[in-house]
Symmetry: C2
Subunit: 345 residues, 2 copies
């Protein structure tokens, strides 16, 4: 299933050498002579066998120019503290875990912003209800009342901003890759770690078989050069030793075969898993990009809506008219327009 | 001086009747007969003399269609609680005092707004320094860093807004009409109140003279109809009484003249003062209008500057590139690109 998942998104790549294991067979004398030389072209590190630099056929990257995870995490990472090595797959999994916590931290940051907006809105709408200068009259009074009201409108704009920040940015960032995520990652981890364990035991098998073969071959040498024994009994011993040596050779070929098959399984698992993880990282980055874009869109909206809260104030300030205000006030407060005249008898 | 002040700003107006007082003179018999009728065409209220409705020549407003203070505050205002009356000038002065305190309240309101902006800016720049998700890498990391920085820029915008609100709106509103203002108003008050006192004493003088004249006339009547006395002595008495009556008539004419001159002084003072106060009210309204306009201008600027804080974030979000980020990360964190190969003998 992971195989498919990876091939859904990635074109298939040229089979690596290990996908075509040599068929098991008996050790030919020629082969036996090459063992030493062969050993010098490869090195087995933590039970994984790599060609030595400059040895073996040239390797092409599985996905050239793509910096694909599947091409760069084959070796184990030396622990800087010189402790245990970290498998390449671990490095990829840790990257995912770090990404997950960063995404959570971004949500936290947005949450803090939301709180600031709510506080600001609260203060603005509180002030807009203040009775200050409520007794101002006429057209000036209307403009002033609208100015105070505009603070309430501003508060609404910032409240809307904080609500949308919550539903359209904070919540999605928190929801993306829920609590199952870490369990899912563990699966990759366990699966590949298990294959590495198998690889180790198979490698031990190879070492054991190799030693057994060596012993048998030594024994055969000794017997062939023995002279001081009865000829017919001697022939028997040599035949027996040669049979056992051939047997040991076959055992070695078989365990080599088991080892290579297991390493191949691990290889395939590494390729598909790392490509899965690579896909997940692309998704994470694009998801965050989308939601930070949403943040800036909401910020732009807020500034635009804010503009509109001032316009009605501007209009009423335009039409402030001292003459009109005087008329209104004089109509209400005049004491009489009859002028005094001279008194006479 | 106030006279000038008012004529600086107002075209002079048609002389009201009282500016042309009748010349003092002796009471002609004809005049004496008209006293009763004359009394019915005028009424003296709180020592100010007004024509009765429909009586006397039609009055044109001094500044028609202008609702000028100088045309509408001649009578005293009845105190709703039926207590002492409030002179018209008082009503105008109270309007000024109210305007002064409203302007102070507006400054207070702006001050509250300034505090809200400062608090908001403080919170934004504090959050912009948060270490949250600081470990995000590559192009996404750059965009995130810019997003956090943009909160600092927003804070700067709101801080600038609050500073300008302080220097360009709050301070001018507080400074307009400083502590001398109330003292200046008191001057109008005292000056006119003083003229009203003089008017009252002159009116008392008129009443006294009127009574004296009435007594003298009665005495003359009596003497003229006395018959049972010596003819020559009788003639003497009548002459004497007639002289005293004429004397009392002249006294009355003189005190009427004093009264009318004082009322005329008060009238002129009322016209110039009320026009001064009218001018001051126009100035107050225009001053506040100008500074509330400055408030809305600053608000618009703030929204515009805010827009610009988001643009660099948008640009960096545009150029977020998962492939590039993978390359950067793989270059740094890869464990090895040499693929495993089959192990053989």
């Amino acid at each position: 299933m992971m195989m498919e998942a990876s091939f859904d998104t990635e074109e298939s790549f040229d089979d690596p050498s290990c996908l075509a294991p040599q068929p098991p067979g008996s050790v030919s004398p020629a082969r036996r002579q090459t063992v030493k030389e062969v050993k010098e072209t490869k090195a087995t590190v933590n039970c994984v066998t790599f060609p030595l630099p400059g040895e073996g056929p040239e390797q092409q990257l599985l996905k050239p120019n793509d910096w694909s995870y599947c091409d760069y995490f084959w070796a184990d990472k030396k622990d800087p503290q010189g402790g245990a090595c970290i498998p390449g797959i671990e490095v990829l999994l840790q990257k995912q875990l770090k990404g997950k916590s960063l995404q959570k931290e971004m949500a936290e940051f947005i949450h803090e912003r939301i709180k600031i907006e709510e506080e600001y809105a609260k203060n603005l709408s509180k002030l807009s209800l203040s009775p200050l200068a409520a007794l101002e009259e006429g057209t000036l009074g209307e403009a002033w009342t609208q100015l105070k009201k505009s603070l309430h409108d501003e508060a609404e704009v910032h409240l809307k901003f904080s609500n949308k920040l919550h539903s359209e940015v904070e919540k999605p960032l928190l929801a993306f890759r829920g609590e199952h995520f870490k369990k899912d990652l563990k699966k990759y981890d366990h699966h590949i770690a298990d294959l590495r364990k198998q690889l180790a035991s198979k490698y031990a098998g190879v070492e054991k078989a190799r030693k057994a073969l060596a012993d048998r071959q030594k024994d055969l040498e000794v017997k062939t050069h023995q002279l001081d024994v009865k000829a017919h009994k001697h022939e028997e011993d040599i035949k027996k030793a040669r049979r056992k040596s051939t047997q040991a050779g076959d055992d070695l070929m078989r365990s080599l075969d088991f080892y290579n098959q297991t390493q191949c399984k691990w290889f395939e698992e590494m390729v598909t898993s790392s490509m899965e993880l690579e896909k997940m990282e692309v998704e994470r980055i694009e998801f965050i990009q989308t939601h930070l874009r949403q943040y800036t869109t909401l910020r732009h909206e807020t500034d635009m809506f804010n503009q509109s809260t001032v316009e009605p104030v501007d209009q009423l300030l335009q039409s402030v008219d001292p003459a009109k205000d005087r008329e209104l006030w004089v109509r209400e407060n005049n004491t009489g327009d009859v002028r005094p005249v001279d008194l006479d008898i």
